[in-house]
C-alpha cells in the first residue's frame, strides 16, 4: 500500500507539465463552480436579509400560539430571565420589541382597519430605518404620545400633520381599546400596504391603549451570522420558558421561501450546465493524459507489474491531483469571494432603480457560506473520480507486449 502511494506521488512529479495541466483543469472547475454558487447564494442572502429587516427579523420570539392567532390576548410579559437570554446570546445583534394589534382608525367621515404597532423607536429604526422614511413631521421618541401614519392612510382619512386620529379596537381580555392621538409624523414606504395600513405608537402608548401593561406581542431578532440561524434558534428556545416560541423567518415568510426555491431551481440548472462544460474539461485532460502514457503503461505491465497495481497507482494519482486541485482552487477563490462579499458588485439600470425604490441595496453580493465550498469540492471530486474510469478501463484492457511495438 505504502509503495503504491509513493509510486503514485512520484509519478505526479515526474512529469510536471502534465500534472500541472490536469491540476489546472480541476482548479478551474472548482473556482468557477464556487464563484457561481457563491454569487447565487449571495443574492438569496441579500433578499432574505432585506425581507426580514422589513418584517419579522431572522427570528421572532413570541408566545406559543401567537403566530396562528395574532390576537392581543396572546401577548406575553417578558421577565428578566428572558431579557437576559436574548441580551447574552452571542449571535443576536439586535432585539426589537413590539406590541401590535388590529384596530379601526377613524377621522370622522372615514374609517379604516389598520395595524397598530407599538415600537421602541430607537431599536425599530436600527432594524429598518423607519426614521429615514419620515417625509413630514418628526419621528417618535419613547416618551412621545403622538402617532406616525403612512401618507396613503393620511390621504384617505383626509388628515394632516397635527390632526387627531382616533383608534378603536379590542384590548386585552376583551376590554375596549380606544384612544385619540395627534399625528406627529407622516412616513412613506415604497411598499403600498405599509403606507396604507400601518400606524406607529411608542410602546408606552400602545400598552396604554390595549391595556397590556409591561407586555409585548413579539421580539424580533436580527443576527450577526445568519448561517447560524438554526443553532441560534435552538439555543434560545431551550433557554427560555416553554410558553415562548422562537420562530424562524422561513415559517413567517412562506412566499419568500417559495420565491427563492423557484429561483434556485433555475440556478441549479445553470450550475448543471456549467458542470457539463468543466467536467468535460477535466475528462478531456485525463483522457489525453492517458493517451500520452500508453507506452509507459505498456512497459509497466510488460515488466511484470500487476494490472491491479497499475490501476491503483493511476487511481491514486488522480485522487491526489483532484484533492490538491480542489484545495488550491478553494484557496485561490476564497479571497475573491471574500472581497465580493464585502464589496458587492453594483447592479445598474432599471433593476437597480426599482430596488432602490424599495429601499434595498441594488447589489450582487457573494456568499461566504462554507457549505458552498464543501459541496462544490465534493462535486468536482466526483467528476474527477468518474473521469478516472477511462484510464482504469484502458489499463485493464491492455494486451501485453503488443503496445511496445508502437
Amino acid at each position: 500500500m505504502k509503495q503504491i502511494t509513493k509510486l503514485a506521488w512520484r509519478n505526479l512529479w515526474r512529469n510536471k507539465r502534465r500534472t500541472a495541466i490536469t491540476l489546472a483543469s480541476v482548479l478551474m472547475a472548482v473556482i468557477l463552480a464556487v464563484a457561481i454558487r457563491s454569487f447565487q447564494k449571495g443574492v438569496y442572502e441579500n433578499m432574505i436579509s432585506n425581507a426580514v429587516r422589513f418584517s419579522t427579523g431572522y427570528l421572532q420570539a413570541h408566545a406559543k400560539g401567537y403566530w396562528e392567532d395574532k390576537s392581543i390576548n396572546n401577548a406575553f410579559t417578558p421577565d428578566a430571565h428572558f431579557d437576559n437570554v436574548i441580551a447574552d446570546d452571542e449571535n443576536v445583534s439586535l432585539a426589537v420589541p413590539r406590541l401590535e394589534s388590529f384596530a379601526l382608525a377613524s377621522s370622522g367621515p372615514h374609517t379604516k382597519g389598520v395595524e397598530v404597532i407599538g415600537i421602541d423607536p430607537a431599536k425599530e429604526n436600527k432594524m429598518n430605518g423607519l426614521a429615514k422614511k419620515i417625509v413630514e413631521g418628526k419621528y417618535l421618541q419613547m416618551s412621545d404620545d403622538g402617532i406616525l401614519v403612512g401618507d396613503g392612510l393620511a390621504k384617505y382619512l383626509e388628515l394632516k400633520l397635527g390632526d387627531t386620529l382616533v383608534l378603536l379596537g379590542q384590548g386585552y381580555h376583551g376590554m375596549t381599546a380606544a384612544g385619540k392621538y395627534a399625528i406627529q409624523g407622516i412616513f412613506h414606504y415604497p411598499v403600498e400596504q405599509f403606507n396604507n395600513g400601518i400606524v406607529y405608537l411608542s410602546l408606552t402608548e400602545a400598552r396604554k391603549l390595549f391595556g397590556t401593561e409591561g407586555m409585548l406581542t413579539s421580539v424580533s431578532l436580527m443576527l450577526n451570522n445568519s448561517a447560524q440561524l438554526d443553532k441560534t434558534a435552538q439555543r434560545i428556545q431551550s433557554s427560555v420558558d416553554t410558553t415562548m416560541e422562537i420562530m424562524e423567518w422561513q415559517k413567517m415568510n412562506k412566499s419568500l421561501v417559495q420565491e427563492i426555491q423557484g429561483d434556485n431551481s433555475g440556478g441549479i440548472i445553470m450550475l448543471a450546465i456549467l458542470y457539463l462544460v468543466v467536467a468535460f474539461g477535466v475528462f478531456g485532460t485525463i483522457h489525453m493524459m492517458t493517451m500520452e502514457r500508453k507506452k509507459e503503461f505498456a512497459v509497466m505491465v510488460a515488466i511484470g507489474m500487476r494490472k491491479m497495481k497499475l490501476m491503483a497507482i493511476v487511481f491514486l494519482e488522480t485522487v491526489f491531483i483532484a484533492c490538491i486541485g480542489i484545495a488550491v482552487g478553494c484557496i485561490i477563490i476564497l479571497p475573491v469571494v471574500f472581497y465580493f462579499h464585502n464589496h458587492p458588485i453594483s447592479l445598474t439600470g432599471a433593476a437597480a432603480a426599482a430596488y432602490q425604490q424599495f429601499g434595498i441595496e441594488a447589489v450582487l453580493p457573494a456568499s461566504l457560506q462554507s457549505s458552498i465550498f464543501i459541496h462544490q469540492g465534493i462535486t468536482v471530486l466526483c467528476i474527477a473520480l468518474v473521469s478516472v474510469f477511462y484510464p482504469l478501463w484502458y489499463v485493464g484492457r491492455l494486451p501485453l507486449l503488443e503496445n511496445l511495438k508502437q
Binding site: 379601526l104 382597519g113 381580555h173 376583551g174 375596549t176 380606544a178
Partner: protein, 254 residues
C-alpha cells in the same frame, strides 16, 4: 268505472290531507320559531343584564342596559366595569355604531369589523345585528319532541333558504311547547359539525312573561370558552320610539 273513480278520489283526498298536514306542520314550525323570537323581543323591550366571558386563564364580567324596538333597532349601554362604562352600541337595521366617551367619538363599525367578537365575547357584531335571522332566513321543520330541563319541547330543524346570507348550514332549536321560549340551540357548519351550542336556563317571570334568565353560548371546538348572559330585569312593550335610537341619543342615554 265507479270503483276506479272512487279509488282515485280516495287517493286524491289522502294526498290533499297529507299535503295540508305537512304544510300545516311546516307553517307551525315557522310560527313556533317566530313566537319564540317575539317572546324574547316583544314589540319593544328594556333590560338590565350582565355578560360574563369565560376563557381558560381569565374571565370578565360586563354589565349593561339594553333597549330594543322590534328586530331593527336597539341600544346597549355598558354600565360596568369602570374602563368600559359609558360605552354605547347602537344598531339601526344593518348598521352599528359605537360611542366611546373616553375619546368623545361615535364610530361606525365597518363591514370588516362585523365578524369580530362583540366586547370580546362569543357573540359577533353580526350576531347582534341579525337578530331576527332565525325566522326570516331559514325554512323550519319539526323533527320531534324532547324534554329539556323538565320542559316538553319541539325539536325544530332550520335549513337556510337558498339565497340567505347566513353561515350556518343547519340550526336545531328546542322550544318549549307550552311556554314558547327557546331553551337550547345548536349551530352546525357546512360539514355538519357542531360549532356553537346555546343553552338557556333559569326560567323566571319577567314583567308579563316567563323567560329563561340565563343564556350560555359555548363555542364547542374550543375548550374552556364560554359566554354567559344573565338578565336581571326585563320589561316589554314600553313606549319606545324609533327616534330614541339615534346617534345623538347615544351620548345622553343613561
Amino acid at each position: 268505472m265507479k270503483q276506479k273513480n272512487l279509488k282515485k278520489l280516495r287517493l286524491l283526498v289522502t294526498v290533499i290531507l297529507l299535503f295540508s298536514f305537512t304544510c300545516a306542520r311546516s307553517q307551525n314550525a315557522t310560527e313556533i320559531v317566530k313566537k319564540a323570537n317575539d317572546l324574547m323581543n316583544g314589540k319593544t323591550s328594556e333590560s338590565i343584564a350582565s355578560m360574563t366571558i369565560q376563557r381558560p386563564g381569565w374571565s370578565r364580567t360586563v354589565s349593561m342596559k339594553t333597549w330594543s324596538l322590534g328586530n331593527d333597532y336597539y341600544m346597549i349601554l355598558i354600565t360596568a366595569p369602570a374602563q368600559d362604562k359609558g360605552q354605547v352600541f347602537l344598531k339601526r337595521n344593518n348598521e352599528m355604531w359605537n360611542w366611546m366617551p373616553s375619546i368623545s367619538r361615535i364610530i361606525r363599525i365597518p363591514p370588516s369589523m362585523m365578524g369580530q367578537n362583540w366586547m370580546g365575547s362569543d357573540f359577533t357584531n353580526n350576531d347582534l345585528v341579525k337578530a331576527n335571522s332565525i325566522v326570516d332566513d331559514y325554512t323550519h321543520k319539526i323533527l320531534g319532541s324532547e324534554t329539556i330541563e323538565g320542559y316538553d319541547c319541539y325539536k325544530i330543524e332550520l335549513t337556510p333558504k337558498p339565497n340567505a346570507a347566513v353561515v350556518w348550514n343547519k340550526i336545531i332549536l328546542w322550544i318549549a311547547k307550552k311556554q314558547s321560549f327557546l331553551l337550547q340551540a345548536e349551530y352546525y357548519d357546512e360539514d355538519g359539525k357542531l360549532v356553537n351550542k346555546e343553552i338557556l336556563s333559569d326560567v323566571k317571570k319577567f314583567n308579563d312573561r316567563e323567560l329563561p334568565a340565563t343564556l350560555e353560548m359555548i363555542p364547542v371546538k374550543e375548550k374552556g370558552k364560554k359566554t354567559i348572559l344573565h338578565f336581571q330585569q326585563m320589561t316589554f312593550n314600553t313606549p319606545l320610539k324609533e327616534s330614541f335610537f339615534s346617534q345623538q341619543n347615544m351620548k345622553s342615554v343613561r
